[in-house]
Symmetry: C2
């Protein structure tokens, strides 16, 4: 048994296809076939059920894959340990970011970071929380920025900042008179929300659900960007909630429509999250320091109440 063989098994298990897996591992398909056969022979088991199309893992195969992932991870961590010892911070690093954080946070720290750690090749991808969790598991991401807490036992979280929700209330709205708003003022039926799949939307739903029971069918207008929400709101289609950092770069006229919450303001917790195996921890540390440092200047709220980003089951 070799680490290479385990890698091959993982690749085939992932792609359910020898040919694709061969490409990804930079060898030819016969190499994969043979090496995996050799491993199967050595262990005297079948790892894959080749009669199924596409190919499937056998029962033993599934367990083996778990352990194989373990071993491959741990073996990669060796280079990690060596790098750490040398104080070297570099190499490829894949970072996932949720859509509602991407446009505001990235410009704030990216330049700083690549200047400070020029050897790190950051590959940033915009992904939903769901996709992030999946990719942290299978190692396609090294870390991610998402709203927390996630309560996922395989994922560790390091808080970056707390970002308050801010009401965007057009003049026509019933709440426009109030200087500061309260959570109890909110009515999910006259609020514009992001489309399904955004955890920021889930957070707001959680927030409002604590106020009154709601009827799911009432949502009518939904969009993928806050910019659109603001415009729709200006048209008198309802109020909306924005994450604080997004309120920093809207134009002056619209700024007058912003209404903060009375403290403790509802807020989302934004964290750097990573797999519990703690691979590439030096880079994660570096990211955390850089981002937390940059954001510290931008957000100065003190008293906040964290809203869970996880969609709760609707019928209870």
């Amino acid at each position: 048994m070799t680490i290479t063989q385990l890698r091959y098994v993982l690749a085939v298990a992932e792609h359910q296809n020898f040919t694709k897996a061969a490409e990804k591992t930079f060898v030819t398909q016969p190499t994969l076939s043979m090496q995996i056969q050799k491993l199967e022979e050595e262990l005297a088991i079948l790892i894959f059920d080749r009669s199924k199309k596409p190919i499937e893992l056998t029962e033993v195969g599934k367990k083996l894959v778990q352990q194989a992932r373990n071993i491959v991870n741990e073996s990669e961590r060796i280079q990690d340990i060596v790098d750490q010892q040398k104080g070297y911070i570099g190499g490829e690093f894949k970072l996932g970011v949720i859509p509602t954080v991407m446009p505001t946070l990235l410009p704030m720290f990216l330049h700083n970071f690549i200047k400070k750690y020029p050897k790190v090749k950051l590959k940033i991808e915009e992904l939903t929380t769901e996709a992030i969790i999946e990719r942290l598991h299978d190692g396609h991401l090294d870390a991610a920025i998402a709203a927390t807490p996630l309560q996922n036992e395989n994922i560790k979280e390091r808080v970056l900042y707390y970002e308050p929700f801010v009401g965007y209330i057009p003049p026509s709205h019933r709440l426009n008179q109030k200087k500061k708003i309260d959570v109890t003022d909110l009515d999910i039926d006259d609020m514009l929300l992001l489309e399904d799949g955004h955890c920021f939307r889930d957070g707001i739903v959680n927030l409002c659900k604590t106020q009154k029971s709601y009827d799911e069918d009432h949502f009518q207008l939904e969009s993928g960007s806050f910019e659109t929400l603001v415009k729709l709101s200006n048209e008198g289609l309802g109020m909306t909630l924005l994450p604080y950092l997004h309120t920093l770069d809207i134009n002056e006229k619209e700024k007058s429509n912003l209404h903060f919450f009375n403290e403790p303001s509802p807020a989302r917790e934004v964290s750097l999250i990573y797999h519990k195996s703690e691979l590439k921890m030096q880079i994660i540390e570096a990211l955390h320091t850089t981002i937390a440092g940059v954001v510290k200047g931008a957000i100065t709220f003190q008293n906040v109440e964290i809203i869970s980003p996880i969609a709760k089951i609707k019928s209870d």
Copy 2:
């Protein structure tokens, strides 16, 4: 980097000597030299400081060895997983046993076990608790039977049985009149103890220390076996304490000198212990079931108080 290379590193780290390590890994010394050099080159570090005699690990080397042990362990667990799936229980299994358990417990279950699991090649070694812990760590033992709790975070424990202490009090002794004795009756100054290094001795010292402070210099007579202790006791040199299972096979005349404790009787907890990596777990399960089953019939005490087997620091 290959698993084989990591094995070689572990072997050299253990023996601090390439030639010996080569023997243990069944290859020639040049093979080791070259493979380790290759790994060092790949990682661009020195794992060993070859200028020191005997050879030493570098700082990075030490960290690498930890991780290497991890990986090698986890890779061995793969065969384990496969065996488990097949329901196969067999292979070599190295079991350590503390001296004060060895002669009484072994005959009780050994025959049963090898009959039930003929494919397991049990290699049993008598070792002190200290040596057992060390060997569980470096993988020279697969499991062991020892007095617990050990409070060692890398070692897991599965209790086999609670074995009460029984007083052996010769007719000449002041306590011989009492039918049942109490912990408070004990005076470490007129007790015969096993020689240093036995955890049973440590247990008794702990037991007595709760009664009164003691002067270490007072111990005068010490022996390596309970048989000798009983004989010395018969000569009027003091009383002694025996673990319950040992009292089952002393002769009739001497049995009359046995005095049980009032309940809750002090007792030692005897457990099957193993490394937290849980390698060869099927065999460990099998051993646990067999031993616990056999002992259940022999020990029927209900109300016991567990005495720690760990020698507490003397000055406090």
